[in-house]
């Protein structure tokens, strides 16, 4: 049913240089000689391989006692239990953070909302639509996202564009890509520039587009005089968006650096009418969408289309379901009778297992792309978090977080980090510092912290 075959051009194909049967010139592949001896930087420019940041979101936490064996002290080694056993092969790339708390200073725990907002923004929301500060991915993107086509790439495998947990504020939240086909078209469609093509000629239409946006931006400045302060801020955000597209267009007018890791995947082909593609919440559909999007995303990152990304595997209420069952994953966590022998809710547990299996496949997709003398995962930091620890009772203390990837060698991995009740913002602060942000504290009120998790710094 699903065909997504990465087309990794070999040297013979590249030298033959054909596209759709028509000769287009000789493409020279990215060779290891483009890299420095240690394979960590581009020889031509001396620039280090880029380090990327991404988030991976899943809803409804873990099954306590069946995911990760708790520890009392931070140390190497993670004891993956049945729910997370798919992650075991990737232990050397993973850190697990447990035992961090989420003090709310008297604010309500807005179920399935407070958890993700607090861990990603450093602040507790005051209502269940309130996003009081930018999410950490955007703070990182503001710092590192230059020289890529997309400031961030946001996607969700549940088929609902509004399920995106990246936002600059309550009213500034982009729609996520919810269709693998559209994600592919956006990244690898006609505006994609193959870095490994020998020939390059700037497209005059790109230059025209830039001049159009420049003219619009210039002409629209006059509006500022008509607006109050809050609307001027909104207009400023619009101008920022204009500049980001202009930057994208600037990049399209330059020949991209050759990039051996970049192998354009073939377009997705699925059986059936494209208009009726399954985009539902059936768990098999979610997993299949996630797999397709993951392959596209990983290659987009390898092709330097973005340095920051956000993948939502399941929504914060996890409406995933199995065909023919009246209960969704969320309803199961509350209403399924725990098995007396097993000691947990077995069907809800199975959804959690599928979730962690998918996280493992996400990690694998990055690890499978060779980059320099390592792989893409070596040069990426993935922040994987959820909104609750135990969904059955909506607990937000001890919300589990993983990081995956070595961030260009900046982070130690294979660690189980114990929070001892410290604010969960320590994880986000440390992630941002690893990504190079010059900050020494993050968060507000009791969630504010200046304590880096030094145990994981390389």
């Amino acid at each position: 049913m699903t065909v997504l075959i990465p087309r990794k051009a070999n040297r013979r194909e590249m030298l033959k240089g054909t596209l759709g049967g028509a000769a287009v010139g000789v493409a020279l592949p990215f060779l290891d000689c483009f890299l420095t001896d240690n394979g960590t930087a581009l020889a031509a420019t001396g620039a280090p391989l880029p380090v990327r940041f991404g988030t991976w979101y899943w809803g409804l936490g873990h099954t306590p006692g069946h995911a990760i064996t708790p520890k009392t002290q931070t140390s190497a080694g993670i004891d993956f239990l049945e729910e997370t056993k798919a992650l075991k092969p990737w232990e050397k790339y993973i850190n697990f953070y447990g035992g961090f708390n989420m003090p709310l200073d008297g604010r309500s725990n807005y179920t399935h909302f407070t958890g993700w907002v607090a861990s990603r923004t450093g602040s507790a929301p005051s209502g269940n639509n309130d996003i009081p500060a930018p999410t950490l991915d955007l703070l990182i993107a503001d710092s590192i996202a230059g020289n890529t086509r997309f400031q961030t790439l946001d996607m969700t495998s549940v088929g609902i564009p509004r399920e995106n947990y990246s936002a600059r504020s309550t009213n500034s939240r982009a729609a996520a890509e919810a269709s693998p086909e559209k994600l592919y078209a956006r990244i690898f469609g006609e505006e994609f520039m193959d870095p490994n093509k020998a020939e390059f000629a700037p497209d005059p239409r790109v230059m025209v587009r830039k001049s159009v946006l420049s003219a619009v931006g210039e002409q629209s400045k006059a509006l500022n005089a008509k607006l109050g302060a809050s609307d001027r801020a909104r207009l400023d955000e619009y101008f920022t968006s204009i500049r980001q597209i202009e930057n994208q267009l600037d990049l399209q007018m330059q020949k991209p650096e050759p990039n051996l890791a970049c192998a354009i995947p073939l377009p997705i082909k699925r059986d059936g009418d494209e208009q009726n593609m399954p985009q539902g919440l059936e768990v098999d559909t979610v997993v299949a969408n996630h797999q397709m999007m993951t392959k596209i995303l990983a290659m987009a990152v390898a092709c330097n289309q973005t340095k920051v990304f956000n993948m939502v595997f399941s929504d914060n209420f996890s409406h995933m379901r199995r065909p023919g069952q009246t209960y969704t994953h969320h309803l199961l966590t509350h209403e399924e009778t725990p098995d007396k022998v097993l000691g947990y809710q077995p069907v809800a547990f199975s959804f959690n297992c599928r979730t962690m299996d998918s996280f493992a496949s996400f990690i694998e997709a990055f690890a499978n792309i060779r980059e320099g003398d390592g792989n893409l995962l070596d040069n990426t930091l993935i922040f994987a978090a959820t909104e609750t620890n135990y969904a059955r009772v909506h607990s937000i203390d001890g919300v589990p977080i993983f990081t995956a990837g070595r961030a260009g060698g900046r982070i130690k991995t294979g660690m189980h980090v114990v929070g001892n009740g410290d604010p969960i913002t320590r994880v986000g602060l440390t992630a941002m510092q690893i990504m190079g942000l010059p900050i020494d504290k993050w968060g507000t009120k009791s969630l504010q912290t200046s304590k880096t998790i030094t145990d994981v710094l390389a």
């Binding site: 179920t111 400031q151 009213n171 729609a175 025209v208 587009r209 619009v216 302060a229 209403e335």
Partner: protein, 553 residues
């Protein structure tokens, strides 16, 4: 004087000649004005404008950033919405696609009012004529010299670079469609000559407010001409335009948009039903279910000018083939069309909340949800806030294997024994449980898991035996009229009413009540009121507090 007005009002109502009689209006309370707004176009507004300007043959593809539902309406959320980089990228892509279609060989002769001297080079005169024409509609005011110069210069440069006049025209047009002057409806103000030191909306801003309120699209030529002549600052001129707009077929478009927003029908975009549990429910059923409710609303409230409250009891509706299979009603329309239909007296279907749309939308994929339904009735139709559930609910009673909890009433009864849950569930469950004989796909049933369903309940002390009884209780509930008044006013102004505006809302409610709860009268009262256009001085803009947000996720 008052007696004359009252008499003319009675005559009008008795004869049914018109329900829009300004003569029986009482003076409105004074208004102070709120901060001017800058509203992002909604997806439907964007689509309507493109269709109005260029025709329905132009396709609009792409996605829009989600809006935050505020005071029950996405329209209010649009007042604070921002354009993200990804959102602008989508607008840019849509704009280029639309512009390419406009200048295509199939459309250019109709949509561009002039021909260039040469197709291979720019033609400033033709470009100027085109942009002045479309810009007036896109920007909702005649273009200033600067606003014309910019796309003409773009078109000239692009036409030269690309060697084609029409490519140049498309570039300039695409630029206009990513301009904030198009994407945001921005309130422009001017000194108010009748109140020295105060400001008022300029005529074009008034035209835009009216048009987005009543038609959900950009002002037409007549409305812009009225604005140009200053007629919207004059009561007579304003009333003439409002009456014209209320009599236009576009009113149906506008009211569909309003009820789509108020009833959260945008959620149909993500509705999903399990195909094993509900094999009859399909994408076609979902689409028709929404359409059925909108047709019912438009027919009762606009075409028949009926009592708004009858929306909860009417047995009259419309039926399509896909819906007929769920309602078990024969529909002899092999062409896939609609037929008027009236449920028989005593049927279990009567009123909006017994229709498939409401029942299916506020349910889970594989089962009904009395709580979601009860909450939707309280929040969307009665404007009552249901607090969020507590974070530390104990579900152990739910999980007790010795209490099988066959029906939703059994399950929720167990739940409501918890003090932390009982308060809210008392508000939602007695009304949501009344709809339990309609399953999660909108089909009738009498049992759940083999146990008989008891659909009795009460709404604020009024007892009933089933969903039809609930509809009757809704019809007579005193919270219904003020709720629709609040929502219409909020929708029209794009903001949550201030507490100080309660006397004004009371005034509109009185007029609505006097007019036998006819929606057009409410629309007319608000559209022709000073309150719709009242703005504070620009200095107040920065100080204006953001409106309260809904606590929904």
């Amino acid at each position: 004087m008052h007696r004359v007005k009252f008499r003319s009002c009675l005559i009008a109502l008795a004869t049914g000649m018109t329900l829009i009689v300004s003569g029986c209006d009482q003076p409105a309370p004074p208004v102070t004005g709120a901060a001017p707004t800058m509203r992002l176009l909604s997806e439907s507004q964007y689509r309507n404008i493109i269709a109005d300007l260029f025709g329905a043959q132009i396709t609009v593809g792409g996605s829009f950033d989600p809006l935050v539902r505020t005071n029950g309406l996405l329209t209010v959320g649009a007042t604070n919405a921002r354009i993200t980089p990804a959102g602008l990228e989508q607008f840019d892509r849509m704009a280029r696609s639309i512009a390419e279609q406009v200048v295509s060989e199939a459309n250019r002769d109709v949509l561009i009012p002039c021909k260039p001297a040469s197709v291979s080079s720019p033609d400033d005169a033709c470009a100027t004529a085109f942009y002045k024409n479309v810009g007036r509609i896109l920007y909702r005011h005649p273009l200033t010299d600067d606003e014309v110069r910019s796309p003409v210069a773009v078109a000239a440069a692009a036409g030269r670079d690309l060697g084609n006049f029409y490519d140049g025209i498309a570039s300039g047009l695409a630029g206009m469609m990513v301009s904030p002057s198009f994407l945001f409806s921005i309130d422009a103000t001017e000194p108010d000559p009748s109140l020295p030191g105060k400001v008022r909306l300029d005529g074009y801003a008034k035209a835009a407010r009216l048009s987005f309120f009543l038609w959900n699209t950009t002002p037409d030529d007549q409305l812009l001409t009225a604005a140009e002549k200053g007629a919207l600052h004059d009561k007579k001129g304003l009333n003439a335009q409002v009456d014209r707009m209320l009599g236009s077929p576009k009113l149906e478009t506008g009211m569909r948009a309003f009820f789509n927003d108020m009833l959260a029908f945008d959620d149909f975009a993500k509705i999903e039903k399990d195909s094993i549990i509900y094999p009859s429910f399909s994408a076609a059923v979902a689409e028709d279910a929404k359409e059925q409710s909108l047709r019912t609303i438009v027919d009762l409230l606009i075409t028949q000018q009926g009592d708004y409250r009858d929306l909860f009891t009417t047995r009259k509706t419309f039926m399509s083939g896909p819906l007929g299979r769920i309602y078990r009603v024969p529909v002899d329309r092999p062409d896939g069309g609609w037929i008027p239909y009236e449920f028989p007296e005593g049927d279990q279907r009567a009123g909006l909340i017994t229709q498939i749309s409401f029942a299916a939308l506020y349910s889970h994929p594989g089962r009904s949800s009395p709580t979601l339904r009860g909450r939707a009735i309280r929040e969307s139709l009665l404007c009552q806030k249901i607090p969020d559930p507590p974070g530390d609910v104990d579900f152990s009673l739910f999980n007790d294997p010795n209490s099988p909890n066959k029906t939703a009433r059994d399950r929720l009864s167990a739940h409501a024994t918890q003090p932390a849950c009982a308060g809210c569930h008392k508000l939602t469950d007695p009304i949501g449980l009344a709809m339990e004989r309609i399953d999660g796909a909108g089909q009738l049933r009498t049992t759940e898991s083999g146990a008989s369903i008891d659909p009795s309940g009460d709404l604020d002390g009024v007892k009933f035996t089933d969903a039809v009884g609930l509809g009757k209780a809704m019809r007579d509930n005193p919270a219904v009229p003020p709720c629709i008044v609040n929502r219409v006013y909020s929708y029209a102004t794009g903001r949550t009413p201030e507490r100080t505006e309660q006397p004004l809302l009371n005034h509109f409610e009185k007029q609505f009540t006097s007019a036998q709860f006819r929606l057009p009268k409410l629309l007319q009262s608000i559209a022709a009121s000073d309150a719709l256009f009242a703005v504070a001085a620009p200095e107040a803009r920065a100080a204006a507090a953001p409106p309260e947000k809904d606590n929904k996720s």
